[in-house]
Symmetry: C2
Subunit: 203 residues, 2 copies
Amino acid sequence: METADTKERILEASQALVQVRGFNAFSYRDLAESVGIRTASIHYYFPRKDDLALSLVRRYHEGFRQILRQIESREVRSEGRLASYLNLFSSLSEDGLRLCLFGVFSADAASLSEEVLMEIRAFCDTNVDWVSKVLKAGQKEGAFSFSGSPLELARGIFALMEGELLVRRALRAPGPPPGIPPVVRALLSCRGDGPFAATDHIP
Amino acid sequence: METADTKERILEASQALVQVRGFNAFSYRDLAESVGIRTASIHYYFPRKDDLALSLVRRYHEGFRQILRQIESREVRSEGRLASYLNLFSSLSEDGLRLCLFGVFSADAASLSEEVLMEIRAFCDTNVDWVSKVLKAGQKEGAFSFSGSPLELARGIFALMEGELLVRRALRAPGPPPGIPPVVRALLSCRGDGPFAATDHIP
DNA sequence: GACAACCTATCTATCGATAGGTAGAATCTC
DNA sequence: GAGATTCTACCTATCGATAGATAGGTTGTC
């Protein structure tokens, strides 16, 4: 039999399929072939496709939170933290024009259970809250100067990142060079100018 | 038999289904029921589902261009033009949390033909070019003051709008009040302050 | 009667899902 | 510690439902 981590391999493979094709555009057969097992074995771990979706989002959310903690421990300055954060999304689209799970599941929201949707919303909140916190701190430090609500701005930045992924995929454009992109820089009227060699990757 | 516009009714109904559910999440059966005809009749007009996708995007693109022309003829000032444009997206999410066709098809890109993808890219270009033009004009008028490339900023605004639709759907949040949202206003450092009663709607 | 605009009926392929079987590891019983 | 039992981790085979698609008939219009 397989050593152990079959479940993890299923999650890994299905995440790639979701990010590239969308949740309704791959089947248990595709997934089984990708992992090298039978469809029944996937049902053993994830009885219904919705179970898979839920595990996928929870895992993704947890992975994201972990990366955010890493960023906080590595980058001290707010601007570095923000640059690292933005780089997460750039690295995504470099890797086969993948979308963020949030974007995919939000687009496919109509065919997902309420449980999955709640987790999707929680992921969004995690992002917006974290960015908002960084913005507030950066404002105090004097790194960013913006008027208006940090929360509202944070939501805008998150939306911008999600939208950028869609646009980059449509245009088949790779991610921009690391650092804070000009648009966000304009948004913040921040003066720093990197480059920030942020190297985190969304799993 | 039916008067004439069955084709148009099919397009209308399928666009709603695409915007709410996604392209891979509705069937010819769903569509047939929605229109009140049989699936074979849909195949009569759109032999393959990809034909439907192509007609859908082309129609959407044309509709968008028409609205942009209307905006130009109605709004003289750049700020009014931009506000009307942004309002198109807000009105979308008010109507049953629909997504823009661009967002949906970009998310489902992996299962679409090259022909459809080209049309998707053309739609993106139309938007970015139009916004860019308005930004340049507004800069000359003195309505907007921003540094950096208008084209890059325009792309950012388009991405922001697409991303906002995803976020609003996930959060089940209705569209914001009409006018230029604070985030975009910050982006442009523009001083006008509406309100702009833009009333265009994406078909 | 020719054509357009539908229909009924049906096809093949594939979907998610389930039933039931099995090899081998783990655990319990004495 | 040997044998019986149970559990884990898969498998084969197949289900009913549904996907997109097609052949060929019917009906209304000109």
